[in-house]
Symmetry: C2
Subunit: 474 residues, 2 copies
């Protein structure tokens, strides 16, 4: 459960999730990886729509001057920009930024669309690609180009914007836990770890199998920072001209990296059932001198029944590979449930299931009915069981690797042991930077879940009402 | 039914389909326009998946040298490229092209992925943004950046690739006719109108309300042109190393422009029911001194019933606007069916429907039941009727505006009258260019639907087995 860098790159390649693009730091998302992304999109998109968020699409090329209008924003993004300087064979008068995020572009448009309180709230989202010219890249986790959704909302009051930002981080946490089986910790970023241009950044932090932290989704309360920079104003109910209060929030293909590193084991990928492109793989056991046609027919009938019930099932009927080879292959690909059906099973009207989250005999279940309704009910239950099993295992792993610290020495020991450190915190920005320099751990979040009361800051001894979590991170 | 340029731009703005971006020639797709795109995506994506096509994602930034590998391809695209020359604050060693299409990038990867005939066919698609630095732009129809899908397939034989290209243009034609109610003409492009790098380009050509032609989707048989350029090879069943045969095919947000210009009328947009973001708008008639609550409750119940049945319905319950204002507003927005329900209707247990495709009394239908099952059945029927009505009207319009020509003078007269000209054709590339220069009409396609036999070419008099269609085009 402590996957190495080599393990990660092997899994990404062997499971055909992604491949390297020709430009340094870019990635091709292959069909099996993209199907996971489609599952993520489908879940999040329907949640957004339930909340009244509408999809739109904004141009990717942003005049450089737009980014310069918000001082913190340009400072944060300037080192990572890709610039288009030529178009249609001519040098452009002003370089165009290849979108690293769209707050500036969105505000340029909102300034035209929002006139009155009646236009608010305006709740928009786009599914898009973004570019950030990173130096150290890693497939899915940090690439020059990645896919994401970015939500952008404008509200009449600061309270509404704050509530929106909170609601969206809860959507991400709900997705992570209930869909990806990732027991993330939602919380607030420190000032220096917040988004460039935000007042407050909320985050979900996930513990990977190597115990490093992964920021897996963020939601920002932007206040009126961008509205001021772009002159976005509206007439409120009392007839006064005021700036709207805004949020933005995003989750990306990085989530796929998080899933790989949260659940993977020695045999390869383990995919959470609700996102697995193939939830159930059916391997017919085709023995010589037996009725192989009856076995194949039974396997096909199971797949049909599963698909008719909305499950994602596949039969691996090829005769060139042995069943043992197929078992290993689909284990490596992380399929949550494997069904084995041979001539004796067909005669008995049953088949055998194997759970990917429990290796060996422990994960085997005999006597699964071939009869369609019974089979489908068993599969639904098993897929829920695998989800629960993965979530419970990752939660136990996470909790076993968070150390409560009461001194800086405690923290250093925890970080050196590869763990997360959680302790009461009242340090300054400078204190936080010092910890980063001395330990390479960063303040991941001030979790929403707090012990209450107060006590001495582990670093400064000052009275601290909150605990913060520090960890090494991707 | 002859919408002007001004009409088009007004509809795009007033119906809130799109807005201009800050960079010349770019467009923001607003939620109402984007929802149409989501409908297009949903239909096409499920068709692709039924055919075994898998989605993937390829990097957007392509080394300029890739495009230069295929001579025709770079010649076709060079004038339209946007180039990234700086990244992360540094000048790049090689400029990167912002994807105008991905044949080169795809082949760079296929050369690594395809080794054996067992890897074929490989059927991929991506939903992505592309950039083409066009001089004359128009929202949806021709913009610097647009959204599309691009399919890329590789096959073991030329026959398979040819069949695939044909199948995909049929998917587009089926979508256009049965989903968008656009009576497109599928056919083959002439050599000089084909895609840069293709052996054969197939197309669907649509007639707009101003009688100009719109190329609404294309499918290319690429032969082994790109495979040769990129060294993509595989061992065939006989052990020989050969190039795969490829196709590519794409449809874009341009389709939205086609829908606007095919169906729009003096009152604004008319959306085909299967793509309309709102299929049924319910306007409660709230009169003073009547039981407005009962009316509102009836309206809400109708919307609930429609939504529960999978229809897209909305109640416009506001009291600030008059019913007449609301009728005009939703007509302008192109909603296919409007329901009116007032106090008398509630008392009678019925409501009134108005079809967007038939103005005035002719399109009104009384006595629609308020009872949920009856209401839903009526709505389904009405939506199908509106689809059929729009398609029949556009088909009649198209057929009334295609002139069969037997001489160049015939063609000139037809084109001058704003119509399409169809005639037997055996001209050369030079002949085709001359017609374009002299009439501004281009050869839109050699339709699949041919009269058979042969006869004299309308231009050269040479024996011609096929007819071709010429028209002015967007």
């Amino acid at each position: 459960m402590l996957p190495s860098n080599r393990w990660y790159l092997d899994v990404v390649r062997d499971a055909e999730l992604a491949d390297y693009g020709p430009v340094r730091g870019t990635m091709v998302i292959r069909p099996y990886g993209y199907a996971i992304w489609e599952g993520i999109q489908s879940y999040l998109d329907s949640r957004f729509k339930e909340l009244g968020v509408q999809n739109a699409y904004f141009p990717q090329l942003i005049p450089l001057s737009f980014l310069q209008k918000e001082a913190d924003h340009v400072e944060g993004f300037a080192p990572e920009l890709a610039l288009v300087t030529k178009g249609g064979g001519k040098d452009l008068e002003e370089p165009l930024v290849v979108r690293p995020t769209s707050e500036t572009m969105v505000n340029h448009m909102l300034a035209q669309w929002i006139q009155s309180y009646r236009d608010l709230p305006m709740l928009l989202n786009q599914w898009a690609n973004v570019h950030r010219w990173e130096l150290r890249t890693r497939p899915f986790i940090r690439t020059l180009e990645f896919l994401w959704q970015e939500g952008h909302t404008a509200h009449a009051t600061a309270e509404e914007a704050k509530a929106m930002a909170q609601q969206m981080v809860e959507v991400y946490a709900d997705f992570a836990i209930n869909c990806a089986a990732m027991p993330v910790i939602p919380g607030r970023k420190s000032r220096i770890e917040s988004f460039a241009g935000a007042n407050v950044t909320l985050t979900i932090e996930a513990m990977m199998g190597d115990r490093r932290a992964l920021q897996a989704g963020t939601s920002h309360d932007l206040g009126d920072n961008f509205a001021r920079a772009f002159g976005t104003q509206f007439l409120d109910e009392s007839g006064e001209l005021v700036h709207p209060q805004q949020t933005s929030w995003g989750a990306s293909t990085r989530l796929i990296g998080g899933i790989i590193m949260t659940h993977g084991d020695d045999m390869g990928l383990r995919l959470p059932p609700r996102l697995a492109p193939i939830q159930v793989v059916i391997v017919p056991i085709l023995k010589k001198n037996t009725d192989t046609e009856a076995v194949l027919a039974a396997a096909d009938a199971l797949a049909e029944a599963a698909k008719a019930a909305g499950l994602r099932a596949k039969v691996d009927a090829g005769t060139e590979k042995t069943p043992g080879f197929k078992f290993s292959y689909w284990e490596m690909k992380g399929v949550p449930v494997r069904i084995e059906v041979g001539p004796r099973d067909v005669a008995q009207g049953t088949c055998v299931a194997a759970r990917r989250d429990r290796p060996g005999k422990e994960g085997k279940q005999f006597g699964i009915p071939l009869e369609p309704a019974g089979f489908v009910a068993s599969m639904r239950q098993l897929l829920d069981d695998v989800h629960d099993g993965l979530l419970a295992e990752a939660t136990a792993f996470r909790d076993a690797n968070i150390v409560d610290v009461e001194s800086y020495d405690n923290l250093k020991a925890a970080i050196e042991a590869g763990k997360w450190a959680r302790g009461r915190w009242a340090g300054s920005d400078e204190d936080e930077k010092r910890i980063k320099e001395e330990t390479t751990a960063t303040l991941r979040c001030i979790p929403f879940d707090q012990p209450g009361g107060s006590g001495p800051c582990f670093l400064t001894g000052a009275d601290a009402a909150e605990v913060a979590i520090f960890a090494k991170a991707y």
